[in-house]
Subunit: 251 residues, 2 copies
DNA sequence: AAGTGGTCTAGACCACTAA
DNA sequence: TAGTGGTCTAGACCACTTA
């Protein structure tokens, strides 16, 4: 939440041109007032709230200001809006949440730890079934397979496997990934179009257990990400985190 | 993406009042054009793009329209904006993603399966350490502990443990939760203020393994959620999903 | 001091949809 | 057909930041 402009201070004192109506001139204050009425139960779940025109008149601001406030609330799933019908308080709350997925480097540095990176594998390889489907390639199309550790203060924080489709990417050699994580190279190499994320739990095994320093079979959090350039998938990454890792989201 | 208004059809033909400038009258079309220039590499990561005034003049629309388009792109993390400095293409892309977290009932019904619910436990109990911290209560404060299965076509889909703080909630009996999931009751019982989510991997054990029908030690995806009413946390839920479950997010 | 984005306003037209 | 939200416009003032 940003600080409100000084002008808002005046809005806090009720001015009563038509009998007690507050002036709520900024869209944040309108949003706050609407939220207050919903949370106080004054506007119950499922109920219609006043129209933009009515609210603008009551609160002493332009309709565009009310519209901005209600639009934000609709984007957050607090209300639902339909033309000709009106604006309704959502019945089932909090079904949409924004997940921050910082790069591993900034995530680790933000926690005050020193970021470390170590390449543990680089090869040309035919894709696994999962990689084949994710990258939309054939079983004999050779992909670049990069494996790496991300470290926080020298301790394993994440182990990552990335498949890259060399047909859709600039030429690249092992040396490049000894210096920098594949995602940082990718972001500089190409403008990226679209990405898809999947989060799941699985059991650590083989290299994963080895490089995370945990016993085989330990549950790990897996994040899969496919990134497109134009209409082509160019990378398929699997990041594996030890059990202490948590994805946090706050509304 | 919603269908564009018919008016937009006209914007597609370049009108050249001042030498080739397109008219892009809707904020979606301005956003699309800016995105195109970023993805084509015309505006590289880290580069400053033209000011709102310049873009409005070039594209033949009001500055407010350009502002709306750039604001949306900033919210999605595509550009970064600072007063007096200007608008920059973000260096590290795609670090923010929206996760849809539908209620279990609607998620299961949307997949075409029949939703089922079964209460497997109801008790007054002192909180575990985790629940104590989440609900901000003392070690001897008795909480309501509800355990339940959510089923898809009769098959275990999720096993859930919910701690409720009776001091901050209307009175409730076991019978209530035999009929409906705690979250559905909660949403009707109180206007909810705020929630916090954590996602992690852990090993199934005891009741969890039993009710999900999987061996002890199987990795499960855990979603913890704390919900507030006013300034008080009222519920702490832990949902556990078998390994086949995936959280999906698309941009 | 000056230039950028952030927002408000008043009015207008349009799109969608229930009645 | 009428009422609701969705958006655009042109102008204005302001907040924040660099110089």
């Amino acid at each position: 939440m940003t600080r409100l402009p000084d002008r808002f201070a005046h809005s806090l004192r009720p001015t009563a041109p038509d009998g007690g109506a507050r002036r709520l001139n900024t869209w944040q204050s309108v949003r706050a007032e609407v939220l207050r009425r919903i949370r106080s139960g004054e506007w119950a779940p499922g109920a219609l709230i006043p129209t933009e025109h009515e609210l603008a008149a009551e609160l002493g601001c332009a309709r565009a200001t009310v519209n901005r406030a209600l639009r934000e609330l609709a984007e957050n799933g607090v209300v639902e809006r339909r033309r000709k019908v009106g604006t309704r308080v959502t019945t089932s709350p909090a079904q949409r949440t924004t997940l921050e997925m910082p790069s591993l480097r900034s995530e680790i540095e933000a926690s005050g730890a020193e970021y470390g990176y170590k390449l543990t594998g680089f090869a040309l390889s035919v894709p696994t079934d999962t990689a084949m489907r994710a990258l939309q390639v054939g079983p004999r199309d050779e992909m670049i397979l990069v494996k790496a550790q991300h470290l926080a203060n020298g301790r394993a924080h994440c182990w990552e496997t990335i498949w890259l489709n060399p047909r859709n990417l600039p030429a690249v050699s092992r040396e490049v990934f000894e210096e920098q994580p594949a995602h940082e190279w990718l972001a500089r190499a190409l403008p990226l179009t679209r990405s898809r994320l999947a989060i799941m739990a699985e059991a650590a095994s083989g290299d994963c257990a080895l490089y995370l320093g945990i016993p085989d079979g330990t549950p790990v959090l897996a994040i899969e990400r496919v990134i497109w350039h134009e209409a082509m998938p160019v990378s398929f990454a699997r990041q594996l985190y030890p059990p202490r890792h948590r994805l946090i989201s706050e509304d």
